[in-house]
């Protein structure tokens, strides 16, 4: 018997620099990165988590709420979430959150999730491509005091207050059953995220945070005053709520840089050690000579 009860889900998402499209312009001459030149994207596996949440909603009903902690421009991935089918989105932003390591991040997320209140599942991507740490999911689960299912590839069943899921491991796979609420981290092989729907995109094109109103009004001069735009957004449920540290009731010393036990001691520039190297022309003769040399030196063959 499957549960007919609706399932309320919180999805954790992060906006990340697009490390896949690092081009020449992004690297500065000294080999550091010009972050401004990187486009910011929805962390890929967080999209898989959102898709998994939407599939649960399609099947069981309930709500999907997406939270992101980040700079004001992270509102972009929240709009995208709305266009893909999220019911509600929340931007956690505050200068005091800046510089957070994974522990301080998970603390802020815990407080935000607790402020949302009721939830059955928390879904997050396995890891974010800018750090690959895979730590925030489990740390948030621990802070919430709920179990975790990492590397979730599919949800097989939700029934009687329990979830059955398949985990993808290097060494194979595992089917586990766990009481809810619990937190899942979702792998990229779980699904193909649905594209934003055109209908939703039209309906929720104007979704914005309070901080974006001024910029939005320059695009939409038909709103004669900012107040008129604000009233329109409120009437059409297009306001993206912004929560600060005060809104989730956390003290400055437990968030951001101050709340992070890890500190960066130093950053060193790596000088490439040029090896004794041979330039080999891409011609059959030169390549054959290289192969002969490798065989002669017992490197191959």
């Amino acid at each position: 018997m499957t549960d007919s009860r609706p399932i309320d889900i919180v999805v954790l998402a992060k906006q990340v620099p697009d490390t896949h499209n690092i081009t020449g312009d992004v690297m500065t001459r000294d080999g550091t990165m010009n972050r401004g030149a990187l486009s910011a994207i929805f962390n890929p596996e967080d999209l898989n988590a959102l898709e998994m949440a939407l599939q649960v909603k399609d099947r069981h009903g309930g709500t999907v709420t997406v939270i992101t902690m980040g700079p004001p421009k992270a509102a972009n991935i929240l709009r995208e979430s709305l266009w893909r089918g999220a019911d509600r989105v929340i931007l956690l932003t505050d200068r005091r959150f800046a510089g957070a390591d994974t522990l301080a991040t998970s603390f802020a997320l815990q407080k935000a999730i607790e402020k949302i209140g009721r939830y059955d599942l928390v879904l997050a991507g396995r890891q974010a491509i800018d750090g690959d740490t895979a730590q925030v999911g489990p740390q948030t689960a621990e802070k919430l005091g709920i179990p975790q299912i990492t590397y979730a590839e599919s949800i097989l069943e939700i029934a009687d207050g329990r979830i059955t899921a398949q985990r993808a491991l290097d060494s194979g796979s595992e089917i586990v059953r766990c009481t809810m609420p619990c937190l899942l981290t979702v792998v990229g092989s779980a699904n193909t995220p649905r594209p934003p729907s055109v209908r939703r995109q039209i309906a929720r094109k104007l979704a914005a945070t309070a901080g974006e109103l001024a910029a939005l009004r320059t695009q939409w001069p038909e709103f004669e005053t900012q107040g008129a735009l604000e009233a329109y957004l409120a009437a059409h449920d297009l306001e993206i709520p912004v929560w600060t540290a005060d809104d989730i009731g956390v003290a400055s010393e437990s968030i951001g840089l101050a709340g992070s036990p890890t500190q960066v001691h130093r950053i060193n520039f790596v000088v490439l050690e040029s090896t004794e190297s041979k330039t080999v022309q891409p011609t059959p003769e030169a390549i054959a000579a290289m192969v002969a040399e490798l065989v002669h030196e017992y490197i191959v063959g």
């Binding site: 620099p17 896949h20 080999g31 550091t32 990165m33 972050r35 390591d101 994974t102 522990l103 690959d132 740490t133 895979a134 730590q135 925030v136 489990p138 740390q139 689960a141 621990e142 802070k143 179990p147 975790q148 299912i149 990492t150 590397y151 059955t164 290097d170 060494s171 194979g172 796979s173 595992e174 089917i175 586990v176 059953r177 619990c182 036990p261 890890t262 500190q263 960066v264 001691h265 950053i267 060193n268 790596v270 000088v271 090896t275 190297s277 041979k278 330039t279 080999v280 891409p282 011609t283 059959p284 390549i287 054959a288 290289m290 192969v291 002969a292 490798l294 490197i299 191959v300 063959g301």
Partner: protein, 347 residues
């Protein structure tokens, strides 16, 4: 407290066989501990795994904390984390190292969160050093330096956790060298009794499908690796042909894995496997620091890249500025011809 300070290593085992990465970390812990006079401790959870505890001691541990319980027979987050959290609170280790395996990466953040301590993922080096904190106006002695590539360019960051204990870090397989096993080493196997709570059994494993990985990247004498410079499946097949000819394995950059050319278990680098083959052929790989971290100790490197400024060409022993689609077939052909000549000679 008069007890000796300690460095802990989470010992992962499957059916009583200790994971290589756990032993590699015991080896590194030993090197870090000796100058400081610290004790090296393995934390081992399982059921009837006494022999595994002995193995950990043979590889360099002074003590193994052994939690033996039927509930610990296979890895599950909460029961395993319970043992670690309880014992770490009680014994206050200075440092706690965990292998960057799927289970280790599930376990470490859960434990670090409960202990409210810092955790650095995927370190490529660990050292001991002093840290002068300008913020706090004091110097911390003998901290664990957790070294890993920093995001964005040719940068390596040294991370420290001055005020929280234990100092936790994960390290991928192959980064540290496997210490020799010494059958004459002695150490203490100390039983610890798990103090489970009811909630620890919220999750049950219904079934498990083990797929024995045939990928042996770490031990392969030759690795032929492809990156984003590979343009289609046909080209990727050339890598396999070449690897087969050389008796090696196929490796990949994260970009090639993300592009779907090959499975994640083939990824070389900071968040993949660290390898030191006799020969590493990097085809269409730019040589980002995270990739180099996993292969720059290869004895010989051949780089094939259309961009003459690619960092991989700078660290290569054989630099080939060219297109992988043209160069790989030339290497394959040269090898085939040699082996044919060889056969003719011996016939």
């Amino acid at each position: 407290m008069t007890e000796r300070q300690s460095i802990w290593v989470f010992i992962e085992q499957v059916d009583g066989r200790v994971a290589d990465v756990s032993l590699e970390l015991i080896g590194r812990a030993r090197e870090l501990a000796d100058p400081l006079g610290y004790e090296v401790v393995g934390l081992l959870c399982g059921h009837e795994v006494e022999e595994a505890a002995r193995d950990v001691i043979r590889h360099g541990a002074d003590r193994v904390l052994l939690a033996d319980d039927a509930e610990l027979a296979s890895y599950r987050t909460l029961p395993y984390a319970r043992v670690a959290i309880t014992e770490a609170r009680r014994r206050q280790p200075e440092i706690f190292l965990v292998g960057g395996t799927p289970n280790g990466r599930d376990f470490a953040p859960r434990v670090a969160s409960a202990l409210r301590c810092g955790l650095t993922a995927d370190c490529t080096d660990l050292q001991i050093g002093d840290y002068e904190s300008r913020r706090e106006g004091k110097t911390f002695r003998n901290l664990l330096f957790q070294i890993r590539p920093a995001f964005g360019g040719n940068l390596v960051a040294t991370i420290v956790n001055p005020n929280s204990r234990p100092q936790m870090a994960t390290v991928r397989e192959g980064v540290m060298r496997m210490p020799a096993s010494d059958a004459s080493r002695t150490g203490v196997v100390e039983a610890v009794v798990p103090e489970f709570e009811l909630g620890d059994f919220a999750l049950e494993i219904l079934s498990r499908q083990v797929r024995h990985s045939t990928v042996k990247l770490k031990d392969a004498p030759v690795i032929v690796a492809g990156g984003a410079g590979i343009s289609d499946a046909e080209e990727f097949a050339l890598l396999r042909d070449l690897a087969n000819l050389l008796g090696g394995e196929v490796g990949a950059s994260r970009a090639a894995v993300d592009a779907g050319w090959i499975g994640r278990e083939h990824q070389v680098g900071q968040t993949g496997t660290t390898v030191r083959p006799r020969l590493y052929i990097a085809a269409g790989i730019s040589g980002a620091i995270q990739h180099r971290a996993g292969m720059d100790q290869s004895s010989k490197i051949i780089a094939i890249n259309t961009d003459p400024t690619a960092p991989m060409l700078q660290i290569a022993h054989y630099r080939i500025v060219g297109d992988v689609g043209e160069v790989l077939p030339m290497i394959i052909k040269a090898l085939r011809e040699r082996s044919m000549d060889h056969r003719e000679e011996t016939e």
